[in-house]
């Protein structure tokens, strides 16, 4: 390929050093690391906010925060965890792994890639600047409407809401650019022989995710701009007094918001198969079924959004339609689950930390997904909506699924990334404490929901105390457990642990495992042979 530049050599000492390396890099591995590092840092920030929430909810009565600050903490917790933690780590995995998995030298649009990442730190800063300003007597803190920003509450809200709107717009830009990059890369840069039938499941999952992002994120961006206009430019999109409708915001938000949860889910559902296959030492079961199921989930996810709106007063026929379409998603999700079981069935299984987290994912996401089926019922939703049952459901699906998946993938790929094996002992402690802490935190919340505790409340009635206290204690355990992970990762990055081989794990397959650990700065400058 004569277009390959002569000085792009497969030599790790050719890369720039220092701050400018990270600021100007167009290298997919560097950008992947930037995304993942940023995401993990924001995960700790979001986690700290969660600890604050659970500290307030440990007992009835306002003891730690004011109601004003509490509303801000829960809103920033949600926005940070979804947009600043999970999505960037997911995108980082895509950047780091996809070129290696398909035998490409880099992403198709490397400079765009740099921009996609570097839009994120300003977005995060914008979100928290109002808190800093508040310290100097300007404004009243940040976003306090919940991450869902329902109008007209968000129209009433203070200056922090404007900052949050711009955060959302920057995130929109970042995600859209990254998605375009991923789609073009997967379409155009696969090594010869890497046919659609051989594409790793993780790559398929990100292709679906990128398509979804491009289709639905504009709805949120448009709504955010409309909100800005209602707040400052005299429009009335969301207020009835001017001929608008608050429910329009709710529709637009959830049109984005529901597919968003599959955007969060699909990449880790994809990487999970790689991990299961490796540690069961068996090829992926039901490859085609999984690919078609992921595509079905992607398609169906766009037409089910109003199951978040069963109590908003939609026509009965709409409620029934959305209930039936929502239930339909359980079919492809079920198929994917059975393919996971099929992958490990009659395998030869060992239980290293990535496998433990992968198995934990299956169990916890299973609970989350099944309770999603319960929530699909438009009639009983009268009891679940806006209450703690929903909070438990989405934490089981979002933490139990994608976060566990991201942790599993971190352990799985850390040796590849830095060339050293992490401590298995610490990994196992992390796993068991996370499982115990997580279930202690969120299972009681299902019960709180059916008992009648609403969500987003800074204070609660005395009958909810025992379960809340259990949940808070669980949360403190869960939070502390993540510090073990942090320590393990840092220690490994600094050179502790046995050196890792190229294949890293006995059962690992895939082009990325043909490369040395850590891989050179530039890889696959010449495309590999894929049989």
């Amino acid at each position: 390929m004569s277009t390959i530049d002569a000085h792009v050599m497969v030599d790790e000492h050719q890369h720039p050093r220092g701050i400018t390396r990270w600021l100007y890099t167009t290298n997919h591995k560097d950008i992947g690391i930037l995304y993942i590092g940023f995401g993990l840092l924001m995960f700790l920030v979001g986690g700290l906010l969660a600890m604050l929430i659970r500290a307030e909810l440990l007992q009835p009565g306002m003891k730690v925060l004011s109601p004003e600050l509490y509303n801000q903490v829960i809103s920033v917790h949600g926005l940070v965890m979804v947009f600043a933690a999970l999505m960037p780590v997911s995108a980082g995995m895509a950047n780091y792994l996809i070129p290696m998995m398909i035998g490409a030298p880099d992403m198709a649009l490397p400079r765009l890639n740099n921009w996609s990442f570097w839009l994120l730190p300003p977005a995060a800063i914008l979100l928290v600047i109002p808190w800093v300003l508040q310290l100097f007597g300007v404004g009243h803190g940040t976003l306090d409407t919940g991450w869902t920003m329902y109008a007209p509450l968000s129209i009433q809200a203070g200056m922090g809401m404007d900052f949050a709107i711009f955060t959302v717009l920057l995130l929109f830009l970042s995600s859209t650019l990254a998605s375009i990059n991923i789609i073009v890369t997967v379409l155009k840069l696969r090594a010869p022989g890497m046919t659609w039938n051989k594409l790793p499941i993780f790559v398929w999952s990100w292709l679906n995710t990128a398509l979804l992002l491009i289709v639905v994120f504009p709805a949120l961006a448009a709504a955010a701009i409309m909100l800005l206009a209602d707040r400052h430019f005299g429009t009335h999109f969301f207020s009835a007094s001017g001929g608008g409708d608050p429910v329009l915001w709710v529709h637009m938000f959830w049109f984005f918001g529901h597919p968003e949860v599959y955007i969060l889910l699909l990449p880790t559902a994809g990487i999970l198969v790689h991990i299961l296959s490796t540690f069961a030492r068996k090829p992926v079961y039901g490859y085609k079924a999984q690919v078609y199921s992921m595509a079905s989930i992607t398609l169906i996810s766009v037409i089910v959004w109003a199951h978040h709106m069963y109590t908003s007063g939609l026509p009965t026929a709409a409620n029934i339609y959305f209930m039936f379409s929502t239930m339909a998603i359980s079919i492809p999700v079920g198929i994917i689950f059975f393919c996971w079981f099929g992958t490990i069935w009659k395998g030869s299984i060992t239980f290293e930390t990535p496998m433990l987290f992968a198995l934990g994912y299956i169990v916890l996401f299973g609970i989350g997904g099944l309770t999603g089926l319960i929530l699909s019922d438009a009639a009983a939703d009268q009891q679940y909506h806006g209450a703690y049952f929903v909070i438990a459901h989405f934490h089981y699906t979002l933490f139990g699924g994608p976060i566990m998946g991201v942790i599993a993938a971190s352990y799985y790929y850390l040796p590849k990334l830095c060339g050293r094996m992490y401590s298995e002992r610490l990994g196992k402690w992390h796993f068991w404490l996370t499982m115990i802490g997580f279930n202690l935190t969120f299972f009681p919340q299902f019960l709180l929901g059916v008992d009648g505790m609403p969500r987003r409340v800074a204070d609660y009635a005395v009958q909810f105390q025992p379960l809340n206290m259990t949940s808070s204690i669980g949360a403190f355990i869960l939070g502390a457990a993540q510090l073990i992970f942090l320590y393990n990762v840092i220690r490994t990055l600094r050179g502790a642990g046995k050196p890792a081989t190229a294949q890293v794990w006995e059962g690992a397959e895939g082009l990325e495992f043909t490369l040395p650990s850590p891989p050179p700065y530039h890889t696959f400058s010449t495309p590999p042979a894929v049989e």
Partner: protein, 407 residues
């Protein structure tokens, strides 16, 4: 293997059969609040049915998973299989079977009772009585159009219990000063309105929840089986007072309800009569303090100091800074000068309380409070918090303003 299968089917049978039926008789830890309406009973049945089914699915799947982790671990199964898809017809059948079962469960077992319950809930006509519940930040207002009654229903838990160390009573955060009272065994339609943002009307024991959308009407209904006091809360984040606006419904037998109605109407006429009489300033101030604590303190604070930048102090002489628009509103009405809140003209004060300030969180209290309450709260404000106007407002004057303007 056979024993396991037998146990699994026993569990399935028990769960499917016993649980939904048992729910009618006892409250299990996984059940909703005791249902007192047909809708609540229907949704509880569906809840238990769904729960039973997903519990079985979970246990069966977990059993398969655990079995595999034990039987197919490396030490037990050193040579992994290599299959990647079903091969025989029987294997294809086994793969298709769970999918077909899921479709059947989703659309028949769960779908049919769900649609039935949805249709029931949507059956909004033929009300035997109508109440109008209006949500605002942060309280409910209930009106009985047929009987000409209207009152606010405000959280009555003392601040000391929320923010201080006073011991919390059983109904902490679930008690109000003036509950909604309805008769049992009658279909009560609830028209839902909001004055400001989206709130949610939720009473778990009735199995109903509806969002209230500002500028639009929503409606729901309930038919309560037995007398009692039923408590719920706002179910949609609506600002800082979201946790503090409960809904309390007292269901009385139709006979008791008539008695209550009569006494309420008597109270209402007494209040009307009170607007005619002349009040002393001391009486107005005393009454006004109660009105202030219930209706104004949530924003302007019990101390009258407001919240910096958001809710102006009632106490004059105190500095206040906020958005240009808000300060302009206050200056225009004579309440703001040189960076401080000042005593403004009485007429403007009355205007603000009656009509609110459009575009801000200050509501038009002429829609919420009686003439007596408005007169007394204005009198109180002008003579408390360090204010010394010595002025008072008689209910009759407010009554005039109220009947002059549309309510």
């Amino acid at each position: 293997m056979r024993m396991k299968r037998l146990l699994k089917s026993l569990a399935a049978g028990l769960a499917l059969g016993v649980l939904p039926v048992a729910s009618a008789y006892a409250k299990a830890f996984y059940d909703f609040t005791d249902p007192v309406t047909p809708v609540a009973k229907d949704t509880l049945y569906i809840h238990d049915l769904f729960l039973a089914i997903i519990t079985i699915i979970f246990i069966v799947s977990l059993a398969f998973l655990l079995y595999s982790l034990i039987a197919h671990r490396r030490s037990k199964n050193p040579t992994p299989a290599t299959f990647t898809a079903p091969k025989t017809g029987f294997q294809w059948f086994l793969s298709a079977l769970p999918i077909l079962i899921m479709i059947f469960i989703d659309y028949v077992v769960l779908g049919i009772p769900s649609v039935h319950a949805i249709m029931d809930l949507a059956n909004n006509g033929n009300d035997q009585m109508v109440v109008v519940a209006t949500a605002s930040q942060w309280k409910w207002n209930y009106a009985y159009p047929k009987y000409g009654l209207k009152f606010n229903s405000v959280l009555s838990t003392p601040n000391d219990e929320i923010y201080g160390n006073a011991p919390k009573d059983k109904h902490f955060l679930l008690e109000v000063d003036h509950p909604l009272v309805v008769p049992t065994n009658e279909k009560v339609g609830v028209v839902l309105k909001s004055r400001d943002v989206i709130h949610g009307f939720w009473v778990p024991a009735f199995g109903i929840k509806q969002d209230v959308i500002p500028g639009f009407l929503r409606k729901t209904w309930f038919k309560i089986d037995k007398p009692g006091t039923y408590r719920g809360q706002c179910s949609e984040l609506c600002g800082v007072g979201h946790s503090f606006m409960p809904i309390v419904v007292v269901a009385k037998t139709p006979a008791q309800f008539k008695i209550w109605l009569a006494s309420e109407q008597a109270k209402e006429s007494a209040a009307q009569a009170a607007t005619g009489k002349t009040w002393s300033q001391a009486d107005l101030v005393a009454d006004g303090k109660k009105v202030f604590d219930k209706n104004c303190a949530s924003c302007h604070q019990a101390s009258g100091m407001g919240i910096p930048g958001v809710f102006p102090p009632i106490a004059t002489g105190h500095p206040f800074s906020a958005s240009k628009a808000m300060l302009e509103d206050l200056t225009e009405r004579g309440f703001y000068k040189d960076g401080k809140i000042v005593e403004g003209p009485l007429e403007n004060h009355i205007g603000i309380v009656l009509n609110g300030i459009p575009g801000t969180a200050m509501p038009a209290f002429k829609k919420q409070l009686s003439a007596t309450d408005i007169a007394s709260v204005i009198t109180f404000e002008r003579n408390a918090f360090g204010n010394h106007t010595g002025q008072s407002v008689q209910p009759a004057k407010i009554q005039q303003a109220l009947s002059g303007a549309a309510k």
